[in-house]
Symmetry: C2
Subunit: 362 residues, 2 copies
């Protein structure tokens, strides 16, 4: 019973006589033998480990994304597993973690990049490391990517506000060098421009991407001389900061302020106000990222990079009201309060009147 035979029994990698195999299995059991995965990885030069880097796992969006990823990876069996890294949007931390993961010889990487390690990532990919960008793209690195239609969805959301008569619309912009945020901003601006409104600087407030900072930013935004009648929040931290600020000030939504957030929450229909949001399929983003990665680990090693765009959807709930006569600026038209007032952009499907945004299978 040589080590070779044992190996072959464990891996079913060549014929072993039933008798021998039985003996091997018995010995394994008796000795509580467990194969050493490290030695195995060394020999096979593949670890079965995937790196996942996000800014913060306690952000529900990333938690869902990671969950989607992990489910696919676990289902693949074969000792596959996931090393989790939180970068806090810190470029330096991201780079250090990339080094750690490379030393650990991960088989592949899924990353929501902070934005400052483009060259490093390109080099990695050139060397043959499979990399999938999730949630954000990074132009020119040649990686696969899974994102959502940020720009269109934001345009749609803003158009919805416009349809309710809002012309003075503020935006809370997370200070991330992430393509997603920029695209959301573009969509926002385009929608306003298409109804003849050009962005005024004081209605664009940039904020560090955490709840505390978002509170501050929201205060600024609401304190401008002629405050907005509606606000678009570019991610879930911005939304939470805004809602906290509103609560602090005893304002009520949608009576005093209409709000659309980017990102849904599992508790959106359980608490008031029921927020109108652009819902992202976070779980699916993670899942698709894993699938893209596996594709590249298999045959498609040198296929050209693909970008998968999933659909973010406007979920109309109860945080937006039509502007009241006289409350808008000069030039505002009277708009009757009806959520049906709003029209889809040509060709786009009408937004759903949905009660729940969870896209997670059970």
């Amino acid at each position: 019973m040589s080590s070779a035979t044992v190996s072959h029994v464990i891996n079913s990698s060549r014929y072993v006589a039933p008798e021998t195999r039985k003996n091997v299995l018995r010995a394994i059991k008796d000795l509580r033998y467990r194969r050493d995965g490290i030695a195995r990885s060394l020999r096979r030069s593949s670890t079965g480990t995937i790196g996942i880097m996000v800014s913060d796992i306690s952000n529900p969006f990333f938690a869902e994304l990671v969950r989607g990823l992990e489910d696919v990876i676990y289902a693949r069996g074969e000792q596959n597993n996931v090393i989790l890294c939180n970068t806090d949007e810190d470029v330096e931390k991201e780079r250090r973690y990339l080094d750690v993961l490379l030393e650990k010889r991960i088989d592949g990487l899924v990353i929501a990049p902070a934005g400052g390690n483009r060259a490093y990532l390109r080099e990695l990919i050139l060397k043959g490391m499979p990399v999938v960008l999730a949630d954000r793209v990074l132009s020119g690195v040649g990686a696969d990517a899974v994102v959502v239609n940020n720009r269109e969805a934001s345009r749609e959301a803003t158009a919805y506000l416009n349809g309710l008569g809002h012309r003075r619309v503020g935006i809370l912009k997370a200070a991330l060098s992430a393509s997603s945020i920029e695209e959301r901003f573009s969509g926002f601006r385009e929608a306003l421009e298409s109804v003849g409104v050009s962005l005024s600087a004081e209605l664009v407030v940039v904020s560090r991407s955490d709840i505390e900072a978002a509170c501050q930013a929201a205060r600024h935004l609401l304190d401008v001389p002629d405050p907005p009648s509606a606000v678009f929040a570019t991610n879930n931290f911005m939304t939470l900061g805004l809602m906290r600020t509103i609560a602090e000030r005893g304002m009520s939504c949608p009576e005093n302020l209409s709000i659309v957030g980017f990102d849904d929450f599992p508790w959106a229909t359980a608490f008031r106000p029921h927020l109108t949001v652009v819902s992202q399929p976070a779980y699916a983003i993670g899942r698709e990222a894993a699938l893209l990665l596996f594709a590249r680990l298999g045959e498609g090693k040198d296929a050209p990079p693909v970008t998968k765009v999933l659909r973010a959807k406007l979920l109309i709930r109860e945080s937006c009201a039509a502007v009241k006569h006289g409350s808008g600026r000069m030039g505002d038209r009277l708009v009757r309060p009806s959520t049906r007032e709003w029209c889809s952009p040509a060709g786009a499907p009408a937004p759903q009147l949905a009660s729940r945004g969870s896209l997670r299978p059970r």
Copy 2:
């Protein structure tokens, strides 16, 4: 310039002439050499990898816990990192994952155990694997543990409801074989008994621990012939399910129903109703677990197991009202609506009237 010398330069593990060292460093840079962590782990028989097993990373409680853990582990440097495993409270899945982690030769394990692998875990520990239980204990396995004072906190929360005059109090009990849930249940029962109320079976509803199931359970609970005037939810999924159900039915809290949840949410003060909850220091649980683990990886290899108990705190907000005259059952006393009506159990500090439960450092 032998491989030995290179190794010593990288690890500063013995004196190397400045000249040589410079050459080595230059070569490393030129060749873009990176040490192979797998070979290193094989040779040193230690990987720097910690396994973390929770039921579901998309549960905000576990996300915070994992974040606390990861922060400490990252700060330790030295190629330390974390493999994340979601068990879904599934004993079989937990066992499979344990096998994977052992093959990967993790240096230590932090686990919120599903409850069915006690013998397996004990054996692991006996073999010398450092294990820290988080959130839940498992008697007799000899592992370190970090938990909160579930029973006392639940008793306190229930006493608060009693103080508001509630005698017919329901409980949504998550169906987990986790010590935490059992302890919360005990505290709940004890508090009721101490005001002379014995539990009626129809007010104890057990539910699978996810939002969907919790909704179902909440419907059952509210549909009993003589429905409760207050409900205690034993974890955040139970709370969310309950709130959804209330919203569905157009009931309002605290007018129609008083509610206390276990687990706080970062958005608790941003949306209505502002829930009164028992807040757990999730981040700190993760952090302490990591510290316990490192202690065991260092000197305290064979020290007796320690259990660290952190304090969960009742945060009184606005989801509980005093029972109205006549709305209670026969025997209910009239209780004036005042949150100060309630008294701390002897010796316990009065609960804080807090606005925010986040315990996370920035």
